[in-house]
C-alpha cells in the first residue's frame, strides 16, 4: 500500500533580516508515495521557501519557527546535519528554481552530475560518466557526449536547467522537489521532461513535489494541487477539483488569467479582477470580486491592435496581406518606412577550447546567419527550442557579445561600428531584460539602487527623491511591494527578481526592449499584469519589443510578427497569428502541438493513464 512519504505540519519559516519576513506561515500538507503534488501560487508566496525548508537548505537568516516536516517518519527539522546529509541527494533531491546560478561555474556540467551520482552510488568514474551522458540524453540535451565537458557559461538557460534536472534525477530519489523545473524549457523539451518524470513516478514510485506557475504543466502532471498565497495554503485539492471547481477567489483568478493559445484577449484579466486583498492587523484578508462577462468581453476589444510588416515584406515572406484575414485593427507598416532594427546575416560562433592549452577545437554556431527587421512600435516574438540561439541573438544585438559576422542596424546605424560614447548612447535606447535575473542583479546593491541606477545614468528625474518615487512606482506596477526597495537581490523569490529586472529595464525609458524569457518565472496573474503593462507602454509610447519566450501562448498574446528559430537559423517568419493558425514548418507545428493542455478532458485522460500505471507498478511490487 502507499504510504505517506512527506508530512508537513504547521510549518513556519521566517526570515530575520531588517524586518521579519514570514515567508511560510503555518502550512500543512502531505505527500503520498508515488504521488505528485503540484504547488501553485503567487510569485513570492513561499513555494521555494517551503521546498528549501524540506531540504534544510535555507539561507542563514532563515529560521524554522515552528512546525515539523516528517519524511518517512523522521522529523527533518530536528535532524542533525550529518543525518540530513545522507538524505539529501539520495532520498530527496531538488531541482532549484534558478539553474543559472545554481551550477558551479568552474566545473563542467558533466562533472557536477557525475559527482552527484558517485556520492550515492558505487560507480566508477567511467560508469558515472556514461550514466551522465545517458541522463543528458534523456533530458534532451543535444550532443550529450560533447556537452558533458561544457562549462555552465557555455550552456543556454534551458540547457542548464536540464543539467539541474539530470542531476536531481541521477540518484533515483524517493522524493523529487522540482521548483519551477521547466521555466526555461521550450514546450517540446518540457513535454519530454514531463514524460520522464511521469515515467519515473509511475515505474519507481517516486513522489514529486512540483512547483510551477504554469497551470498547463500542473494539469499535465499533478495529482493534487496546493495553492499558496502569501505564505499560506489557500486551497488544497485534487487536480480535477481545482480545475473544475475552484473555490478560492485566487484560484479562480489564476485559472482565468492564463493566456491560452485559443484566447483572443487583447489584455489579460488579472487576479485583482477577481479579488482584492487587504492587509490588516490580523493578516491578509481577501475579498472576492465579481468578474462579469462584460468585462471579459471588454478585454477582448480594448487595447492595441497588431502591427505587421509592410505589405511588400509580408508578400515576400509568403504571408501576403489579405484584407479581412486579420482583426480590424491590425495594421501594416507603411511600405517605405524604414525598420527600426534590421539584422542581416548575423552570426555568432563560440569557440570550443580543448586540452591544457585550450586549443580551439571547434565552434558552436549559436547564431548562424539570421536576417530580420523590426519596425517601430512592433513586437517581434522569437520562439524556438531551447539552445537554438535566442539569447545569443538578443545579446548580439546589444553587442554584449561581439557578433562573428553580420550587420545589426539600429535606426540605420550599424551597431557594430559604434564605440564608446555612441555605443552608450545607443544602449540608452535599447534595453534588455536578461534571462538570468539573479545573475544580472548586483548582489551588493539594493533593489532601489539597482532600479534608480539607470535613471541616474540617463539623468531621468531631477532629484534623488523623484527617482526613488519612480522606482517605487515601477515596483508597484510590476506587482511588488515598494517597501522592499531596500532589500538586496538574494532576499527575493525568483519571480520577484524577474520583476525587478523588468522594472529596471523600464526605468531607462527605452525605445526598444529585448525581453529574454522575462515572464517565465511569474505566476499567471502577475504575468498577466506585467504583460498588460508592456502592452500599455507600447500603445502609449510606441515601444518596440523583441519578445523571447518558449511559452507560445504568451508570444502569441504579445507578438505582432513572429520568428521561429532552430539551430541558429530562422526557420519561419511571419505574422504571429498567421503562423499559429497555419504553421508552415513541421518544426513550428511540433512546437505548437507540444503546448501543455489543461482542459478537463485532457486531465482526465492523464489521470486515467496514471491510475493504470500505478496499478501496474503496485502489482509488480506486490509480486516481487
Amino acid at each position: 500500500m502507499t504510504q505517506t512519504l512527506l508530512k508537513v505540519d504547521n510549518l513556519r519559516t521566517y526570515f530575520h533580516g531588517e524586518e521579519i519576513v514570514k515567508a511560510v506561515d503555518g502550512i500543512s500538507f502531505q505527500l503520498e508515495e508515488g504521488e505528485t503534488l503540484g504547488i501553485v501560487g503567487e510569485s513570492g508566496s513561499g513555494k521555494s521557501v517551503t521546498s528549501l525548508s524540506i531540504m534544510q537548505l535555507l539561507a542563514r537568516s532563515a529560521k524554522i519557527e515552528d512546525g515539523s516536516i516528517s519524511f518517512l517518519g523522521t522529523d527533518l527539522v530536528r535532524l542533525p546535519d550529518p543525518a540530513m546529509r545522507k538524505i539529501r541527494g539520495k532520498d530527496i533531491s531538488m531541482i532549484f528554481q534558478e539553474p543559472m546560478t545554481s551550477l558551479n561555474p568552474v566545473f563542467t556540467v558533466g562533472s557536477q552530475v557525475m559527482e552527484a551520482i558517485r556520492l550515492h552510488q558505487d560507480l566508477s568514474k567511467k560508469e558515472a560518466r556514461e550514466r551522465t551522458i545517458q541522463l543528458f540524453e534523456e533530458v534532451g540535451i543535444p550532443d550529450p557526449h560533447k556537452r558533458v565537458d561544457y562549462y555552465p557559461h557555455q550552456m543556454s538557460g534551458g540547457q542548464k536547467q536540464r543539467v539541474m534536472i539530470a542531476m536531481a534525477l541521477s540518484c533515483n530519489p524517493k522524493l523529487l522537489i522540482a521548483d519551477e523545473p521547466t521555466t526555461a524549457l521550450d514546450v517540446t523539451i518540457q513535454a519530454q521532461i514531463l514524460d520522464i518524470l511521469r515515467q519515473l513516478r509511475d515505474s519507481r514510485g517516486m513522489s514529486i513535489l512540483f512547483i510551477t506557475h504554469d497551470l498547463g504543466v500542473i494539469a499535465e502532471i499533478a495529482d493534487h494541487v496546493l495553492v499558496m498565497y502569501r505564505g499560506n495554503i489557500v486551497e488544497n485539492g485534487n487536480i480535477r477539483q481545482i480545475f473544475e471547481n475552484p473555490q478560492h477567489p485566487y484560484t479562480k483568478g489564476l485559472l482565468a488569467c492564463r493566456p491560452r493559445l485559443d484566447t483572443k484577449y487583447r489584455r489579460l484579466p488579472t487576479v485583482s479582477d477577481f479579488m482584492e486583498s487587504k492587509t490588516t492587523e490580523s493578516g491578509v484578508e481577501i475579498v472576492e470580486k465579481e468578474m462579469s462577462q462584460e468585462k471579459f468581453d471588454q478585454l477582448m476589444v480594448e487595447g492595441r491592435g497588431r502591427l505587421l510588416h509592410p505589405k511588400q515584406a509580408l508578400m515576400e515572406m509568403g504571408h501576403p496581406w489579405e484584407e479581412g484575414a486579420y482583426a480590424a485593427d491590425t495594421n501594416a507598416v507603411g511600405d517605405n518606412e524604414r525598420p527600426l532594427l534590421s539584422v542581416r546575416g548575423l552570426k555568432v560562433h563560440f569557440p570550443i577550447r580543448k586540452g591544457i592549452f585550450s586549443r580551439v577545437s571547434g565552434h558552436v554556431k549559436a547564431v548562424d546567419g539570421i536576417d530580420f527587421d523590426v519596425y517601430r512600435g512592433q513586437t517581434l516574438g522569437l520562439v524556438g527550442e531551447s539552445g537554438c540561439g535566442k539569447t545569443t541573438t538578443g545579446r548580439a544585438i546589444l553587442r554584449l557579445i561581439e557578433p562573428t559576422d553580420g550587420i545589426v542596424e539600429f535606426e540605420g546605424k550599424n551597431v557594430r561600428n559604434l564605440s564608446g560614447g555612441t555605443l552608450r548612447e545607443m544602449r540608452k535606447r535599447i534595453q534588455i531584460i536578461f534571462q538570468d535575473p539573479y545573475g544580472s542583479l548586483n548582489p551588493r546593491m539594493t533593489i532601489e539602487a539597482a532600479i534608480c541606477e539607470p535613471m541616474v545614468i540617463q539623468k531621468i528625474g531631477k532629484t534623488k527623491k523623484e527617482q526613488r518615487d519612480r522606482a517605487a512606482y515601477l515596483m508597484q506596477e510590476v506587482g511588488m511591494n515598494p517597501d522592499h526597495l531596500r532589500r538586496y537581490p538574494h532576499e527575493f523569490s525568483g519571480g520577484q527578481r524577474q520583476r525587478i529586472c523588468i522594472a529596471r529595464a523600464l526605468a531607462v525609458e527605452p525605445d526598444f526592449l529585448v525581453c529574454d524569457e522575462s515572464v517565465s518565472a511569474l505566476d499567471v496573474s502577475v504575468q498577466a499584469q506585467v504583460l498588460n503593462l508592456l502592452k500599455d507602454l507600447q500603445e502609449k509610447r510606441g515601444l518596440t519589443y523583441i519578445f523571447i519566450s518558449h511559452d507560445l501562448s504568451v508570444v502569441k498574446f504579445m507578438a505582432d510578427m513572429m520568428a521561429v528559430m532552430n539551430e541558429g537559423k530562422i526557420v519561419e517568419f511571419g505574422p504571429a497569428e498567421a503562423i499559429y493558425a497555419d504553421p508552415k514548418e513541421e518544426y513550428t507545428r511540433k512546437l505548437i502541438n507540444a503546448t501543455p493542455r489543461d482542459d478537463l478532458e485532457h486531465i482526465d485522460k492523464r489521470q486515467a493513464e496514471r491510475q493504470e500505471a500505478k496499478a501496474a507498478r503496485l502489482k509488480s511490487v506486490a509480486s516481487v
Binding site: G89, T101, Y151
Partner: protein
C-alpha cells in the same frame, strides 16, 4: 593558449630589458661605487691615486656613462656572460649558483609549509567562522605575525640550540659535512634548516590563513554551494572542492606574487643563521655596489617574477573557465 604563452615570453624579454635598464640606471646613480669601498680598505695614510682609480674605473667600466655601461653589460649577457664580482672575483653565475640551493632549501620549504598549513587552516576557519575557537586560532596567528622573527630566532636559538642543544645554532651544514653518509647529510641539512624555516614560516601564517578565509567566505554564500549541499556532499568536500576551487583566483595571484620570493631569501634570518643565501648576498651586493652581482640577481628575480605572473595568468584560465585570453 600556446600562442599566448609564446607571446608573453617574447614580451617578457622586453620587460626584462626595461627592468634591467632601470635597475642598472638606479644602481649606477646610487651614491658610491665599488671603488668607494675599495678606497676605504686602503691604509689610513693614503687613498688610491688618480691613475689607480682611472685604471679601476676602466676595468669595471665605470668611466662610461651608465647607459653606455648598460649596453656593454647587455652585450655580455647576450653572449652568456654575466661578468665577475668586483670584490669576490668569481663569476657571477658561480657566486649566485653557490647560494641558490641553500636559499631554495629555506624558502622552498617555508613556502610549501606555509601553503600546506594555511590552506587547511583557512578552510577550517571558514567552516568555523564566528566561533570562539576560530577567533582564538586567528588571534594566536596575529600574535605570531606581530612577533618579529629576529626576536623569535634569538629566543629559539637560546633555548633550543644553546640550552637544550637539540639543534645546531647556525650555519647550513655542520662540521665534517663532506664526510657524512648521504642520510647523514640529509639530516645535517635538515637539522640546520629547522629553526630558520620555522622563523621564516610562522610570521606569514596569519596573512595567508586570513586571505584564504576572506575569499572563502565570499564563495560559500553562492547558490551553487547550496546545490552541492543538496547533492548530499559532505561539508569538507563542499569546502574543498566546490568553494575552494572558486576562490582559487586570488590564491593563484598570491602564489604568482610569492614565487619570486623563493629566490629572494631573507636578509635577517640568513644573517642570524649565517645561512649564506641569496638574501644576504643581495643585501651585501647592494651595500658593496657589486654591480655585476646585483644585475645578475635582478635578472634572476625578474625572470622568476615574470614567470610567476605568467603562471598566474595562465592558471586563471584553468581555474576559471570563464576567463579567456585571445
Amino acid at each position: 593558449m600556446l600562442t599566448y604563452i609564446a607571446r608573453r615570453i617574447l614580451i617578457g624579454i622586453f620587460t626584462l630589458l626595461a627592468v634591467t635598464f632601470i635597475v642598472y640606471g638606479l644602481i649606477r646613480n646610487m651614491p658610491g661605487t665599488p671603488l668607494t669601498i675599495m678606497q676605504e680598505t686602503v691604509r689610513m695614510d693614503a687613498l688610491m691615486s688618480q691613475e689607480q682609480m682611472d685604471k679601476l674605473e676602466k676595468q669595471y667600466r665605470l668611466d662610461k656613462p651608465w647607459y653606455v655601461g648598460y649596453w656593454y653589460w647587455l652585450g655580455d649577457v647576450l653572449q652568456g656572460d654575466l661578468g665577475r664580482g668586483i670584490n669576490d672575483r668569481r663569476k657571477v653565475t658561480i657566486i649566485i649558483g653557490e647560494r641558490l640551493p641553500k636559499t631554495l632549501i629555506l624558502t622552498g620549504t617555508s613556502l610549501i609549509l606555509t601553503y600546506f598549513l594555511c590552506i587547511p587552516m583557512g578552510l577550517w576557519s571558514t567552516a568555523n567562522a564566528l566561533t570562539f575557537r576560530e577567533r582564538l586560532v586567528s588571534t594566536i596567528l596575529y600574535i605570531l605575525y606581530a612577533l618579529p622573527n629576529f626576536v623569535a630566532a634569538v629566543y629559539l636559538n637560546l633555548i633550543i640550540a644553546v640550552r637544550l642543544e637539540w639543534l645546531p645554532l647556525y650555519g647550513s651544514t655542520g662540521e665534517g659535512y663532506a664526510e657524512m653518509s648521504s642520510l647523514g647529510k640529509l639530516w645535517d641539512i635538515l637539522s640546520h634548516a629547522i629553526l630558520p624555516v620555522l622563523c621564516l614560516t610562522y610570521t606569514s601564517l596569519a596573512y595567508y590563513t586570513r586571505f584564504i578565509k576572506a575569499n572563502m567566505m565570499e564563495t560559500i554564500q553562492q547558490d551553487y554551494i547550496r546545490t552541492a549541499k543538496a547533492k548530499g556532499a559532505s561539508p569538507t568536500s563542499i569546502l574543498v572542492t566546490h568553494a575552494f576551487r572558486n576562490s582559487l583566483i586570488p590564491l593563484v595571484t598570491i602564489i604568482g606574487l610569492t614565487l619570486p620570493s623563493l629566490l629572494a631569501g631573507s636578509v635577517i634570518l640568513e644573517t642570524i643563521y649565517q645561512w649564506n643565501g641569496i638574501g644576504y648576498l643581495f643585501y651585501q651586493s647592494i651595500t658593496m655596489r657589486e654591480y655585476p652581482v646585483i644585475m645578475g640577481l635582478v635578472l634572476m628575480f625578474s625572470v622568476m617574477t615574470l614567470l610567476g605572473q605568467l603562471l598566474a595568468d595562465v592558471l586563471y584560465a584553468f581555474v576559471d573557465p570563464r576567463i579567456t585570453y585571445s
